[in-house]
C-alpha cells in the first residue's frame, strides 16, 4: 500500500492503494468517481476512457503508480454542467440507449476533438473504433462527433 496524490478534475485527491491498482479502481472504489466504467479490464472496450493530460487513455490498464503528476480528467470533470460541446452534441443527437459505454465514448470523442477539431470521417472512425457500444448506437455516436466538431471554436 502506498499514498498517491492525484491531480483529478482540477483538484488533488489522495488514495492509499496498492501500487499496481489500475487508475479505474482508484477512481471507482477509493474516490467514488464512478462515471468511469469497467467493461473488460484489458483495454478492449473503452468504457474506462479518461484523459491523461488531454489524451484518451484506458484507465483499466493504467497503474496508479504510473500516473504521477499528470492531469487526469474523468467524465465528471469534463465540464461543470454537462455542457462540453461533445456532451451537448450527445444530448442533441439523443445518443444513449443503456448508456453504460457513453462516458467512455464521450471521453474518446473529446480527446479526438482536442487534438483535431475538424476530423475527417476516417479519423472519427479510427478514434472511436476502440469504444464498444453493445446497444449499437454507433450511427448516433458518429453523428454526434460530427455535430460536436461544429460546436468547437
Amino acid at each position: 500500500m502506498a499514498q498517491y496524490k492525484l491531480q483529478i478534475n482540477g483538484s488533488e485527491h489522495q488514495a492509499d492503494v496498492d501500487e499496481d491498482t489500475p487508475l479505474l479502481w482508484v477512481l471507482r472504489d477509493s474516490l467514488h468517481l464512478v462515471g468511469t466504467k469497467f467493461g473488460c479490464g484489458i483495454a478492449q472496450c473503452g468504457a474506462c476512457t479518461v484523459h491523461l493530460n488531454g489524451v484518451a487513455v484506458r484507465s483499466c490498464t493504467l497503474p496508479v503508480s504510473a500516473v504521477g503528476i499528470n492531469k487526469i480528467t474523468t467524465i465528471e470533470g469534463l465540464s461543470v454542467n454537462g455542457d462540453h460541446p461533445v456532451q451537448q452534441a450527445w444530448m442533441e443527437v439523443d445518443v444513449p440507449q443503456c448508456g453504460y459505454c457513453q462516458a467512455g465514448q464521450i471521453m474518446s470523442a473529446a480527446a479526438l476533438l482536442n487534438k483535431n477539431p475538424k476530423p475527417t470521417e476516417d479519423q472519427i472512425s479510427s478514434a472511436m473504433n476502440g469504444n464498444i457500444c453493445r446497444c449499437g448506437t454507433y450511427h448516433r455516436i458518429r453523428e454526434a462527433v460530427v455535430l460536436a466538431s461544429t460546436k468547437i471554436k
Binding site: 467514488h32 467524465i75 450527445w90 439523443d94 443503456c98
Partner: protein, 722 residues
C-alpha cells in the same frame, strides 16, 4: 422519506393532505388495499409524502411526476412509458419528471424487461392512468367554474374553458381534483388526437448518463459494504473438490474466503484487492458431468439430424402428407445451418449488492426480472419476499443475461454467510467462462418443389444444446405449405444456456430466410415474389393454424422493397429477409457492392411494423441498434468450448461489432394505427439473412454457418472488408 401502510379507501385523502397534490394509484384489477405495503424511500420526489401505488403525482407548482415501473436496459422504456401517461393526461412534457418506480408487482403487474412485451402489455394501463387523472382535473375545474365538464378541454397541463377564455393549470387544480371520485371507466383519446406519442422525445436520463452519474448496479454503494469476486468452476461439468485459500486470505484487504456450492468467494475491501487475491486461490476440481467440446457438438448435431429415435424427437407441427409430397417432388433441396454459442456480453459486467440482515434483506442491482429475483432469494433464505427490498438500478445492457437470477442468488447467499453487506462483481472473463449462453443449434431444412416451382413440401429439424424447442413451428411459412413437418431434438448438457435477445429466432430467422432464398432461386422466382405468393396461399387456402398476420407481413415486405428500390438498382446486389417475432414484423434489404473485387456491405433498409410508434427517436434507434446487433453477431459472434471450458475469455478473442464495421441503416415504420406490439427484439432476427442473401447475389457464394467472418465461403470472396 418513509411511508406507512395505507389503504385504498383513505389513501386519496391522505395523499392530498400530505403532499398538497394529486396522487393517483391504479391497480385496475383490485383495490390496492389488498397488497402488502413496504416502507420505501423515494428520493427525488419534491412534493411530500406519496403512496407508492401510483403512476403519477401532480404538485401545486405544476411538476408532474410519473413513475416508470419496468427495468430500463436501453430499450428506452423509462421515456416511452411516461410518454403514454402524459399523452392521455395532456401534460406539458417539459414539466414532467420521471422516476423509476420501486418493485411492486401487485401495483404495477409486469415489472419485467423481456420478450419485447412492456409496451404491448402496459399500453392500456398507462393510457388509463393518464386519462383518469385528466378526467379528475376536468371535473374539479367544472365544479369550480360551475360549467359542464363537456365544455372543457385540456392542453399542456391546463384545463381550458373556451367560451369564457378561462384557464386553470393542473397544479392549481391538483388538490381539488384529488377529491373527485375516481371514475370506474374513462374515455381514452382518439388515436388521431395524439400529440406526444409518435414524436421525437429524448431519453429522460440523457443528462445523467452523459455526465457520469451513478445510475448502474456497478455504481451502487453502501457505506461499509464489502466487495467480492467468485471463482466458479473452470469448466462446465466439473465441481470443486478442495480449496486452499491460505495465500489468498493473507493478502492485503482480504476479509474472508468462503466456499458455497461450487463457488469460492473472495471478500475484501476493494475490487482490485479481491481480484488479485482470487488469483492466489488453489482450487482442485473433479468431474461432475459430461465434459463437452465444440467438436463433440459438431458430431452430435450430425447424429441427431439423422436420428430415427422417436423418443428423442419432438414433433412440433405436422400438416398434410410430408413423405408423399417429397416422393412426388420434381426437385428436393436440403440445406443445413449451424450457429455457435454466444455470450450476451452486456457492457456492464454482472453484479449485485446484497445485505442479508436479521430483520430483512436489501438487494440492489441490475435485473430484468426483479420480482423473480426477489422470490428466488426468499426461497433460498427461507423468508417471505416481503422481507426483501430490491432497488432497481439502471441496467448497462441485458440482452437476456439479466433474466437469469444466478448472480442475484450468489450475492444473497454470500451476504447471508458473511453477515455483511457485499457487492459481488463479475469480471468479463467470469461471464465468458462461467455465465449463461445462447445455445448452439443446427438446422436441416428440406423443400419439395413441383414441376412448376410450387412449394409442396417443407421439413425442418432443429437440434440444439439445452435449446428447448429450437424451432418456431407456427412461424411463416407454416400455414402456406400443404405438407409440412417441424421437429426438434434437445441435447442436455452441463453448459448453462438461456434466452438471448430474440431467443431462438436470433439464428433461426437467418437459416429460414437464407433457405427460402435458395428455394426461390430453385423455383426460378424472385425471392420477394416467392414469399408473397406463399402469403397469398396462406391467405386463400390456409393449412392448419396461421399464427402470424398475413397482411402485416405483406405490408412490411411492400415497404422495404419500395424504400430500397428492390430489383431496380444497378451495380448493387440486394438481399431480402422478413421475419415475424414478438408480435412485430420487420423486413430488411441489405445492399452489397463490389469494390476491387471484394463485396462491401453498404446499407441495410429496415421496414418495421410494431403498431403505433410511441417515441420516434427511441424506436428508430431500437431498430437500428437491433440491426447492428444482428449483423455483429452474425458476422463475428462465437463462443467455442474445449474440454468443457470456453475458448474465448474476453473481448480480445470474443469479438463484438465496432463502429467502423457498421453500414448505413435506413429505418421505416408502417403506420397502421394498431396498438403497439413490441420492438426490443424484432429488428434483430432478419439481418443475418438479408446480408447472406445479398452476399450470394454479389458473389454466388452461400453462407450456412455463423459467424460469417469464420466461413471459408466468405473469406474466399470478402477478405477483411465486409
Amino acid at each position: 422519506m418513509t411511508f406507512a401502510k395505507t389503504t385504498r379507501r383513505n389513501f386519496m385523502k391522505l395523499a392530498a393532505s400530505a403532499s398538497g397534490g394529486l396522487l393517483l394509484g391504479f391497480h385496475w384489477a383490485e383495490a390496492a388495499a389488498s397488497s402488502p405495503m413496504e416502507a420505501i424511500s423515494l428520493d427525488g420526489l419534491a412534493t411530500g409524502t406519496i403512496d407508492f401505488n401510483s403512476y403519477l403525482s401532480i404538485a401545486p407548482d405544476g411538476i408532474i411526476t410519473i413513475f416508470s415501473p419496468n427495468p430500463e436496459l436501453g430499450q428506452n422504456i423509462k421515456t416511452s412509458f411516461p410518454m403514454i401517461v402524459a399523452e392521455e393526461l395532456d401534460a406539458n412534457w417539459k414539466a414532467v419528471k420521471v422516476l423509476q418506480a420501486p418493485l411492486d408487482v401487485k401495483k404495477f403487474e409486469r415489472q419485467v424487461t423481456g420478450g419485447s412485451g412492456a409496451v404491448p402489455h402496459s399500453w392500456e394501463r398507462l393510457r388509463k392512468a393518464g386519462a383518469t387523472a385528466r378526467h379528475m382535473l376536468v371535473e374539479a375545474a367544472a365544479k369550480r367554474w360551475n360549467v359542464p365538464a363537456e365544455s372543457l378541454t385540456t392542453d399542456q397541463s391546463t384545463v381550458i374553458h373556451k367560451e369564457s377564455g378561462r384557464k386553470f393549470s393542473y397544479g392549481e387544480l391538483a388538490t381539488e381534483a384529488s377529491r373527485v371520485p375516481m371514475p370506474a371507466e374513462v374515455k381514452l383519446k382518439d388515436k388521431k388526437d395524439f400529440k406526444l406519442i409518435g414524436t421525437i422525445v429524448h431519453n429522460v436520463d440523457n443528462l445523467e448518463m452523459i455526465t457520469g452519474k451513478p445510475l448502474y448496479g456497478l455504481d451502487f454503494y453502501r457505506e461499509g459494504m464489502l466487495y467480492a469476486m467468485i471463482q466458479r468452476p473452470e469448466s462446465f461439468g466439473k465441481k470443486v473438490k478442495s480449496v486452499d485459500s491460505a495465500a489468498a486470505k493473507a493478502m492485503p484487504g482480504i476479509v474472508d474466503v468462503v466456499t458455497f456450492k461450487n463457488n469460492v468467494a473472495v471478500v475484501g475491501k476493494s475490487t482490485w484487492q479481491v481480484s488479485k487475491a482470487r488469483k492466489a486461490l488453489k482450487i482442485a476440481y473433479e468431474i461432475d458431468g459430461t465434459i463437452e467440446s465444440t467438436s463433440d457438438h459438431d458430431q452430435l448435431f450430425k447424429d441427431l439430424l439423422d436420428s430415427t429415435d422417436a423418443s428423442a424427437i419432438t414433433v412440433r407441427r405436422r400438416d398434410g402428407e410430408v413423405d408423399a409430397a417429397f416422393k412426388s417432388a420434381a426437385k428436393v433441396i436440403t440445406r443445413e445451418y449451424q450457429c455457435p454459442f454466444l455470450s450476451h456480453a452486456p457492457l456492464e459486467p454482472m453484479n449485485f449488492f446484497a445485505h442479508v440482515r436479521e430483520d430483512g434483506v436489501e438487494l440492489a442491482g441490475p435485473t430484468q426480472t426483479p420480482d423473480l429475483a426477489r422470490n428466488e432469494v426468499a426461497k433460498l433464505l427461507g423468508i417471505s419476499p416481503y422481507q426483501i427490498t430490491l432497488e432497481l438500478t439502471r441496467l448497462g445492457g441485458g440482452f437476456g443475461r439479466r433474466l437469469k437470477t444466478d448472480y442475484v442468488l450468489e450475492a444473497a447467499e454470500l451476504s447471508s454467510i458473511i453477515k455483511a453487506p457485499v457487492k459481488v462483481i463479475w469480471t468479463r472473463e467470469d461471464d465468458l467462462t462461467g455465465g449463461s449462453y445462447r445455445p448452439a443449434v443446427r438446422y436441416r431444412f428440406s423443400a419439395a418443389l413441383d414441376a412448376n416451382g410450387g412449394l409442396i413440401g417443407y421439413k425442418l429439424r432443429g437440434v440444439g444444446i439445452n435449446a428447448g424447442n429450437c424451432t418456431r413451428e407456427d412461424n411463416f411459412p407454416s400455414g402456406a405449405v400443404d405438407n409440412l413437418l417441424i421437429e426438434s431434438i434437445e441435447h442436455k448438457s452441463p453448459i448453462t444456456t438461456g434466452a438471448w435477445r430474440a431467443p431462438i429466432t436470433n439464428f433461426l430467422a437467418f437459416a429460414e430466410q437464407a433457405f427460402l432464398d435458395e428455394v426461390a432461386m430453385a423455383a426460378k422466382s424472385d425471392p420477394v415474389k416467392f414469399r408473397m405468393n406463399l402469403l397469398e396461399k396462406a391467405a386463400k387456402a390456409p393449412v392448419g393454424a396461421i399464427k402470424y398476420d398475413i397482411d402485416r407481413m405483406k405490408a412490411v415486405i411492400a415497404l422495404a422493397t419500395e424504400k430500397s428500390g428492390w430489383g431496380t438498382k444497378k451495380n448493387v446486389s440486394q438481399g431480402f429477409s422478413v421475419y415475424f417475432s414478438h408480435r412485430s414484423y420487420v423486413a430488411q434489404v441489405a445492399e452489397i457492392s463490389m469494390k476491387k473485387g471484394k463485396p462491401v456491405l453498404q446499407k441495410i433498409y429496415a421496414a418495421a411494423d410494431c403498431g403505433i410508434v410511441v417515441n420516434l427517436s427511441g424506436a428508430y434507434q431500437q431498430v437500428r441498434g437491433g440491426v447492428v446487433d444482428g449483423l455483429g453477431h452474425a458476422m463475428y459472434g462465437q463462443l467455442t468450448f474445449k474440454d468443457g471450458a470456453t475458448e474465448q475469455k474476453n473481448f480480445n478473442s470474443y469479438r463484438l461489432i465496432r463502429l467502423k464495421e457498421v453500414p448505413e441503416v435506413d429505418v421505416h415504420f408502417v403506420n397502421n394505427g394498431i396498438d403497439p406490439t413490441g420492438l426490443g427484439e424484432p429488428a434483430l432476427p432478419p439481418t443475418g439473412g438479408a446480408v447472406a442473401n445479398a452476399l450470394f447475389k454479389a458473389t454466388g457464394k452461400r453462407l450456412y454457418s455463423q459467424p460469417f467472418s469464420k466461413q471459408e465461403e466468405l473469406n474466399a470472396s470478402v477478405g477483411e472488408k465486409l
